[in-house]
Each structure stands twice: as structure tokens, then as C-alpha cells.
């Protein structure tokens, strides 16, 4: 049966393999090639590097840039304060050191920066500058192309190739051709971004993908890491974005960009009632207004001059055209009415939040030969575009050194066979057993319903507690089994199938993390109503996890918070290797 779908096996050897050609991945590849043009650097990208990932639509600011007066340390201080005191100072600091250089590189490649009379960048807050960033991804892709790295578009990574606790390459399949890739590498940099679609999104049906974070960033990097035994951190710190209602366009553009106040239905600037106005408290306060009868809430841009109509439309066309269409559909100019705001579905994302791979300051994960950078890397929130680039650079620089002493490992052919089987079986099922199965979409609905209802989705105001989380845990385990009855109709569908598989595993980790942290550190993001207060004495520490694929169990471990000191990242897991015998 397999034969009908038996793919051609393509074997590639890469000095450095980069998985995900987004912000971090592009910059990693460019950096590696700059450091050593002789190296074979391969980038695999599930979409097309020209318009993939977070930047597909564009951005309108560089949100992590040190304007005059700011330093790497002041950046660390800010991020730490905004994250209830728990970040990896070392990671954030090493990002801070590179932010401005990454910014300059973007400018060199042709990204249009707005400038003031003196030729300086136009600040949008203390750590942000304005850009016309519609073309940012094609610009990065052009730099990538020029770097000489080999780019494989429409090639979806499915798993690392692991030997013991060492990552020696990755498996991938093409969604365009019937090809399965076996890529050996001396070092692998994971840059697959974060995860959307774990939870029921704000909209459903015909608008189900109208979300802030790209629905195509599905957490595969996390899932691959988990399956290989890599350690993850802070999945309980879900990032929930305060966004423009319905279209889910970002709000920083107006909140920070034009200093629009957050007002409630009575016109009160309700944040005044809060001492702590960190990112999650701005969200929490908004929900509170709604729950207590003072909603909905808005960003009030009605005070602005008419010039801002054009300015705001441009800013959003550069990043998130949805709100521009919304204004058009309402027949209004932007400044004619306040824009309503809401909380998004919870995302797992290390670029805005804290969740991701547990890494050291060189961006090494707990698996040998594996690096992580960008939204997939944990411990350092608020890195955004330039922080992701910085991490790509750091990882690539270290990898270039690291591989000097590394030779390619041989790959057990049975591993390849097994992975082909795992990857393509849903297509086979579609030939023969379709009658009994469900489509990837249907399992996705199931996953999102479980997470929404039992693990603190939008419909429960993001609140979680033990009993419900335990149910989520059980249901997700069952779902993971049920997905084996699923089928895929074609290669596109097969990609969706694996996206669900991966999301389920990530969701399981999220639930374990939420269960473990018995305090409420970040309102909304991690709100345990059975432990409603922040408890620094017991909980100013990281909650980390390692998946034991033999036992199919997610193990939680604690890592201390050590103020600013560099971390030694040691491997504590057993990983895939243990269960072979």
C-alpha cells in the first residue's frame, strides 16, 4: 500500500541546517555564510522565504531598538519589569547588545526607515522606531539569496534526526513534490517561530484564520524539540495579545505610536487605576472592565488631527491591512471613532513572551548540535524582529565555530523508514480507510475546543485551575491517539495533519506547565484562580519540561532564577534514545 505514496528520498548534507526561513532563520543563514562562505548552509522553509512567517504581511516598527539613552542593561531592566521579574537576563542582555546593529543591517538592505530632520530614526517609544516595513520579508529574502545559502522552499521539517542526545540532521517532506528529505547536518538551528491555533481563536468559521499570529506557525519546532527530548521553558506563560477586535490587528501602532489612551465604555482611562501597567496588566485591566460592566474598551484616537488618518492607514497597510478594510467597511476615517480592543487567543511564542526552548547564551539547546533562535526560543520576551535576528546571529556565529570539530554522523536506515512511515501514513489511510477517519481540520477543532474550555481559552477569560487542567490533560492524550485515525487527501492536507499532531503535543506541554506553577505570576497569560497571587518566594523560578517519548510523558523540572548570571544549560532528559530497546 505504501508504494502508491512512496516518496523519492532526497539526501542532503549540510554544514549548518536552518529550519524555518523567517526572521531568525534568514539572519542565521546570512550570518553563517558571512562568517564562512565555504560552508554549506541549508535553509528549509515550509512556505516560501519571500513571504513566510510573522513578517509575511510586513511590520511597521522595529520594536526592539535602543534609542538614545537606552542600553542593553536598560533593555534588560525593562523586559524584566514587564515580565514580573522572571526572565533570562543573559539572553536578554546578549540580544540587547545586537539590536541596533541588526536594525542597521535592515536599513542597509533597503528597508525604508522614517527619519527626522536630523536624519535620525523616528522613535516610537523608548525602544522602538518607525519603518515602512511592508517589504521587510522580501528584503530579508533577497539578502538570504545573495548570501549563497541553499534555500528549499515548500519543504516542511517533521523531526530531528537524533543520535543519543545529539541532533545530527532533520527529516522533511515537500508539499509540492513527492519528495522526502533526509538532511544530515553538523549543526541545526531551529527557527520555526511560535504556535498559533492551539486554542479556539477569536473568530470562527469563515474568519477562523483571522488572527494576529500567523496560523501557519504551528509550533512544529517546539514539537520536534519535545519529541527529541529537548528542554522547554515557561510554556505556562502564554502570550495573549491585546488586539483590535475582529481583525486582530496589532495595537502598539496606536497605543505606543500615537499615544492613544485605553478607555472604557464610559470614556474613562481605566489604566489609571493600576500601578502596574505592564503588557499583561493592560490586557487584564481591559478584561476586567468588560467583566464588570464597563466594557467594551477602546483605544481612543478621536483626538488626533486629520493627518493621522493617512498616517494610520499607511502604518496598518504596512503590517496588517485588516483594520484598513474594517474602517472602509464602516465607512469611517480612522480618527472618527475609537477602535475597540480585545484579547487574542493564547499563543506560545518566545518573541513576545517567555515560552520556548531552554537555551544558553550561545543559543544552544539542551541537545547537542541543536540551536534555537527567535520566537521558538524561550527566556527572553520582547525580542521581536531585531531580537530574533540577533538570536539568529548568535546561534550562527557559535555554530560556525562548533562544527569545526564535528563530522557527519551516519544515519540508521531504519530511522528513515520509520519516519517515512509516520509522515505518509495519513495519505495511505486516505486510500484505504477513509470511512473511519477524520480530517486534520476536524482534529484541530477538537484540540481548540479542549484548550478553550479546559485550559483557559477566551471563553473562560483565560482563567485556569487544577481540575479543568487535569481534564484537558486526559482529553489531549486521548486526542493524540485518535489522530491516528485521521487521514490526509493530498500533500497540503498532509502538512495540516502534521500541524495538528504537533500542536497537540505542544498543547500537552502547555497544560503540564499550567498545572505546575501554583501561583499567578502573569495575569491572563497564566492565571491560576486556585492560586490567585504572585509568590516570589516560592515561584521566582523557571518551570521547564522534557518530553519522554518512550513513556509518552511530559516531565516538569525547575530551574532557578539567578539574577543575570550566565546559565549552564545541561541536559536532564532521556529523549528518544532510551526507548529503542
Amino acid at each position: 500500500m505504501l508504494s502508491t505514496w512512496e516518496p523519492e528520498v532526497v539526501r542532503i548534507d549540510a554544514d549548518i541546517l536552518i529550519i524555518g526561513g523567517g526572521t531568525a532563520g534568514c539572519q542565521a543563514a546570512i550570518t553563517a555564510k558571512e562568517k564562512n562562505g565555504e560552508l554549506k548552509v541549508v535553509v528549509i522553509e515550509k512556505a516560501h522565504v519571500e513571504r513566510s512567517g510573522c513578517l509575511a504581511s510586513g511590520v511597521n516598527a522595529i520594536n526592539a531598538y535602543l534609542n538614545p539613552g537606552e542600553t542593553p542593561q536598560s533593555y534588560v531592566d525593562y523586559v524584566k519589569k514587564d515580565t514580573a521579574g522572571l526572565i533570562r537576563d543573559d539572553l536578554t542582555y546578549t540580544i540587547g547588545e545586537r539590536l541596533n546593529n541588526c536594525t542597521r543591517r535592515l536599513e542597509e538592505w533597503g528597508l525604508p526607515f522614517l527619519k527626522d530632520e536630523n536624519g535620525n530614526y523616528v522613535a516610537r517609544g523608548r525602544r522602538s522606531v518607525r519603518i515602512n516595513g511592508e517589504r521587510i520579508k522580501p528584503i530579508l529574502a533577497e539578502a538570504l539569496r545573495k548570501s549563497g545559502a541553499l534555500v528549499l522552499n515548500r519543504v516542511v521539517a517533521t523531526n530531528y534526526i537524533v543520535k543519543g542526545r545529539k541532533v545530527i540532521g532533520a527529516f522533511a517532506f515537500s508539499v509540492r513534490e513527492n519528495k522526502f528529505y533526509v538532511i544530515r547536518a553538523k549543526a541545526v538551528i531551529c527557527a520555526t517561530g511560535g504556535a498559533a491555533g492551539l486554542y479556539k481563536p477569536n473568530n470562527d468559521g469563515s474568519a477562523r484564520h483571522k488572527m494576529w499570529y500567523p496560523p501557519f506557525n504551528t509550533g512544529t519546532g517546539f514539537a520536534m524539540g519535545l519529541r527529541a527530548g529537548a528542554e522547554m521553558t515557561s510554556f505556562e506563560m502564554r502570550f495573549i495579545a491585546l488586539r483590535i477586535k475582529d481583525v486582530l490587528s496589532p495595537t502598539g501602532t496606536i497605543a505606543q505610536g500615537v499615544h492613544a489612551p485605553q478607555i472604557n465604555a464610559r470614556g474613562e482611562a481605566y489604566l489609571r487605576n493600576y500601578v502596574d501597567r505592564s503588557t499583561y496588566m493592560r490586557l487584564y485591566a481591559t478584561l476586567k472592565e468588560n467583566r464588570e460592566g464597563r466594557g467594551p474598551c477602546y483605544l481612543d484616537i478621536t483626538g488626533l488631527s486629520e493627518d493621522y488618518n493617512r498616517i494610520l492607514k499607511e502604518a496598518y497597510l504596512n503590517m496588517s491591512p485588516g483594520i484598513v478594510l474594517k474602517w472602509a467597511d464602516e465607512g469611517v476615517e480612522p480618527t472618527e471613532k475609537p477602535v475597540e480592543i480585545c484579547g487574542s487567543e493564547p499563543y506560545i511564542v518566545g518573541g513576545h513572551g517567555l515560552a520556548g526552548y531552554w537555551i544558553d547564551s550561545r543559543r544552544r539547546t539542551t541537545l547537542e548540535g541543536l540551536y534555537a533562535a527567535g520566537d521558538v526560543a524561550g527566556g527572553s520576551p520582547k525580542k521581536y524582529v531585531t531580537g530574533s535576528m540577533a538570536e539568529g546571529e548568535i546561534a550562527a556565529e557559535d555554530a560556525v565555530e562548533y562544527i569545526k570539530n564535528i563530522t557527519f554522523e551516519s544515519i540508521d536506515e531504519s530511522l528513515i523508514k520509520e519516519e517515512i512511515q509516520r509522515v505518509y501514513t495519513p495519505l495511505i489511510r486516505s486510500d484505504g480507510y477513509k470511512k473511519l477517519g477524520f480530517s486534520p481540520d476536524e482534529f484541530e477543532e477538537r484540540l481548540q475546543k479542549i484548550m478553550d474550555e479546559y485550559a483557559g481559552g477566551i471563553s473562560s477569560y483565560y482563567e485556569v485551575y487544577e481540575e479543568k487542567l487535569n481534564i484537558a490533560k486526559d482529553l489531549l492524550k486521548e486526542l493524540q491517539k485518535d489522530v491516528n485515525k485521521g487521514y490526509a487527501e493530498d500533500l497540503h492536507d498532509l502538512m495540516k495533519y502534521h500541524e495538528v499532531i504537533d500542536r497537540i503535543l505542544v498543547a500537552r506541554a502547555v497544560v503540564e506547565h499550567l498545572l505546575y506553577r501554583k501561583e499567578t505570576r502573569w495575569r491572563c497569560y497564566q492565571e491560576r484562580i486556585d492560586y490567585p497571587y504572585r509568590d516570589d518566594e516560592k515561584w521566582l523560578k523557571f518551570v521547564n519540561s522534557i518530553y519522554d517519548s518512550c513513556k509518552d510523558e511530559i516531565k516538569i523540572l525547575e530551574r532557578p532564577y539567578t539574577n543575570g548570571e550566565n546559565y549552564l544549560v545541561t541536559w536532564l532528559g532521556s529523549g528518544m534514545s532510551g526507548c529503542k530497546d
Binding site: R51, A56, A207, R208, H209, P214, V324
Partner: protein, 107 residues
């Protein structure tokens, strides 16, 4: 549901192996139909990123909001040049607006 392909305007990108919109969509949602024109697999999966509408040389693709979130038929098209992006916003009431923005500072 958020992009609509005008089958009159679309020429399937002529002789290109892979049409430009098919090549670019980050969700792999577009494909070349048996009739040689572009089509979307499932409009519910569109992220509204606008990559395809910028890419189409025929301006055959337009973006709009689903009715669920207040869509009423306003549409957005785009034309890109080497250094600019030109947006064509058409309100449901017919009012049109052209917005031109610098996109690439050629150095």
C-alpha cells in the same frame, strides 16, 4: 474567506511553472485549477496577509473582510513596483482611495 480571484482577470500567470500567487502564499492555500486559473483551497484558511494580492501582476486578486467580522464588500488590491507599493482601497459604497507607500529604498 478573505481573498477572491477574478477569473476574468487571472491568466494563470501564463507560462510560469508555478503561478506567482501560488508560489507566495504562506499558507499554501492557492493552486492552479484544472481550468488554468488560480483558486483557493479553502477560504476559511486565509490569514489575510495580502501577499498574493501584492504579487499578482494582473491585479486579479482582491482582499475583503468576511461578513462575520463586519465585512460589507470593501476590497483591497495592490500593485507593487520595485520601490513602492500602491494600494487600491475600494469601499463598499464605491469610494476609492489610492495609497502609495515607499517599500524598498533601492541602494
Amino acid at each position: 474567506m478573505a481573498v477572491r480571484i477574478d477569473r476574468e482577470l487571472c491568466n494563470g500567470c501564463g507560462k510560469l511553472d508555478e503561478p506567482l500567487c501560488v508560489r507566495i502564499c504562506p499558507g499554501d492555500l492557492l493552486y492552479k485549477n484544472t481550468d488554468g486559473k488560480a483558486a483557493i483551497r479553502d477560504t476559511r484558511d486565509c490569514w489575510d496577509c495580502a501577499a498574493c494580492i501584492k504579487e499578482c501582476p494582473k491585479q486579479a486578486i482582491e482582499m475583503y473582510l468576511p461578513a462575520q467580522i463586519g465585512g460589507r464588500g470593501s476590497t483591497l488590491k495592490a500593485r507593487k513596483s520595485r520601490d513602492k507599493i500602491i494600494w487600491m482601497l475600494k469601499r463598499a459604497d464605491g469610494v476609492e482611495e489610492i495609497i502609495e507607500i515607499e517599500a524598498h529604498r533601492i541602494v
